[in-house]
Amino acid sequence: MSKIGLIIKREYSTRVKKKTFIIMTILGPILFAALMIAPALLMQLEDDEFKKIAVIDETGVFSESLISTKHIEFYDFSAKYLNQETFEYDLTKATDDLKDSDYYALLYIPSNAVFNAKGSVILYSYKQPNIGIKMHIAHGLEKKVKDIKFQVTADDLDINQEQISEILRVANSEIQVVTNIIDDKGEIKESHSEVAMIVGYISGFLIYMFVFMYGSQVMRGVIEEKTSRIVEVIVSSVKPFQLMMGKIIGVALVGITQFALWVVLTIGLVSIGQAIILKDFDPAKLNPNTTEIGSELSPNSLIPDEKAIEFEKIFQAVYSINYFVIIASFLFYFIGGYLLYGALFAMIGSAVDNEADTQQFMLPITLPMVLGLFVMLTAMQNPNGSLAYWFSIIPFTSPIVMMSRIPYGVPYIDLFISMALLVATFIFTTWFAGKVYRVGILMYGKKVNYKELWKWFRYKN
């Protein structure tokens, strides 16, 4: 095996065998899967408990609109807490009683609730009431308030309720803008900005994370070799540049392995999770308008069929994205970005005696990376603006910014320029870093600054 091959093998196998690697590889997908499944799971769990709710209704008009379901039941206590002499409701006593009762909450509807409803209805509870209950109550009350207001307005305008409903139906006109992209050949394709945005954001962010995670592993590796002084033995057998490249490539392979395992394990876990926990999981449930409780109360919401079509469209959009280009360029920028910064991380590691001293040199790495992240957020809204364009060409930010543009479709010429510049730049940074590195790894106990690094760079061999 060639010497650089030996170095790559050592860097790879020692890292992959580490406990932290194994733990991270297993924990990562569990976390991702939890993030994906948990909201749906919580939604289901919420409904399980049966709850009784006491109601004090000063208006006296809402009792019928609060409809009990198999999970929630309403009991009217208005009469019990009405002081017969003052004709006021004793709320203090009611909340006191709630404490030791088996009632989950006390709903207080003040007399001004109909015409000044905002914030006046109060739900007293000793536990944090879940969002489902709040929504269920709000829907019920809203409908009644709406009905009363319709009635009043109908009377004022001297029209009947059906006419009002008709007006509302006509007025309620939702418009969806469909975006179509005309490509160079004049073909028209439907584009899906939302999906493109998410795909772009995730891939850009992953690259950012990858560069920092594995770049600093390279740096720590170099510092370890330097402080343990083994470096002098190794560079008497191999060239410093071989040692540096071996480390960078070895760590890159570790990163790719971890990433691949994450993808596989996450997909596996999510599908297993969905199969076991969410047997009857329906994505439509996530929309509050169509939850079990809400559907009974809001006839105006979309009927399930329409919802299904909506989802169908999103799935189509997800599949309609040009995955070949996205995956290929993701891999390219993933590796290119890492290589560009990896050599710089190695250079910093070679210049210092311990990890604490790295801070002063981190700025030139952190600054463009964080800038790239911010520009990416802007680029997602305006992927073809000049800001997004230039930052996706400049090699120090292009891996992040270009990834947020690609799902929207980027002219091949842009992609080509950006990639070519990235390759040229990482060759340059590696060459530059290599020259500093070979001097730095053998220098001890020196307070190093940028001037010193420049001096090292100019040393002859």
């Binding site: 030996l6 050592r10 343990s228 083994i230 470096v231 002098e232 560079v235 008497s236 410093p240 061999n461």
Partner: protein, 310 residues
């Protein structure tokens, strides 16, 4: 035949001249002491021989050939600042470092087995380096340095951190390697061990080579006219006849014998003149020319060059 020759080697770091026109010749099969105070340029010279850095001017030859990457496998280097990967197992590490030197895996395993048995450290194979004591780590590193049977071995302070027993074992191994044909460059500040095992030396101070040659020749050249004498007779009478041409440096009288050191100050007086004078008063049991220790020569030469440059 010289195993290693450096010719007018010069190396500059920014404003600092680390090596100034340094030429040394290391005879094949010798133990060559590379001496000099801290910061003299020894490590830089060693790094140039190891091709870790290249000289700005001058040439380096190994067995008469200009050095190139093919010579790497012929050199074994034990740096002063020693180190191994702390988290790696001893066996794995030895295997890795030897393979980097170009040794095949089977061959490495075979040789490692031999050395681990010889030093009785087989049980360390699966231990992490950080679990070993400093001396144990150095032993492992010594084995790694010599495992690929290099023709040229460079040891920088090899005995630091070893107890006397292990120092003795190591000394024997180094001389063994020399007897098997290896050439050894030995850099140290411990002048006693230089006298003990080196046959040639070179002294470097302030980037320049000051002196080079066989150790006995150098000690003879720097010897002043001091004689170590063991005398059996009338010392008092002898003493009264010694003129101002002589100076008694050290005297140790026992029952009958007197051990003394006498320096002859007049260059015209030969040792025989002193002997003739002495036999009048008694018997001479031994008469030796006093050779300066390497320590004295080191201090003298470094002190002289330092005062010249100041």
């Amino acid at each position: 035949m010289n195993a290693l020759v450096t010719e007018n080697v010069e190396k500059k770091f920014a404003n600092h001249l680390a090596l100034d026109n340094v030429s040394i010749s290391v005879p094949k099969g010798s133990v060559f002491g590379l001496l000099g105070p801290n910061g003299a340029g020894k490590t830089t010279l060693i790094r140039i021989i190891n091709q870790i850095t290249a000289p700005d001017k001058g040439k380096v030859f190994i067995n008469g050939e200009k050095i190139s990457s093919k010579h790497i496998k012929n050199i074994g280097y034990l740096p002063e600042e020693r180190g191994l990967y702390k988290k790696m197992k001893v066996g794995e590490q030895a295997l890795y470092l030897s393979q980097l030197k170009g040794l095949s895996k089977q061959e490495t395993l075979k040789r490692l087995k031999y050395w681990f048995e010889k030093f009785e450290i087989q049980s360390w194979w699966d231990k992490k380096v950080e679990e070993l004591s400093k001396g144990m780590q150095q032993k492992v590193q010594f084995i790694i340095t010599i495992l690929h049977k290099p023709e040229l071995l460079i040891f920088d302070e090899p005995f630091s951190g070893f107890d006397p027993i292990n120092t003795q074992i190591l000394k024997e191994e180094i001389l063994n390697l020399r007897n098997q044909g290896a050439t050894i460059i030995f850099s140290t500040h411990n002048m006693a061990s230089v006298e003990e095992i080196c046959d040639h030396i070179a002294l470097i101070n302030k980037s320049k080579k000051i002196i080079e040659g066989p150790i006995n020749e150098i000690r003879n050249n720097y010897a002043s006219d001091i004689y170590e004498i063991c005398f059996d007779g009338y010392f008092n009478k002898l003493e009264s006849t010694l003129t101002s041409d002589y100076k008694i440096l050290d005297i140790n009288e026992t029952m009958q014998k007197t051990k003394m050191k006498i320096e002859v100050l007049n260059k015209n007086i030969k040792p025989n003149d002193l002997i003739t004078k002495m036999i009048e008063f008694g018997n001479i049991n031994s008469f030796n020319k006093h050779l300066p220790s390497m320590n004295d020569i080191f201090i003298k030469l470094v002190g002289e060059t330092n005062s010249q440059t100041e």
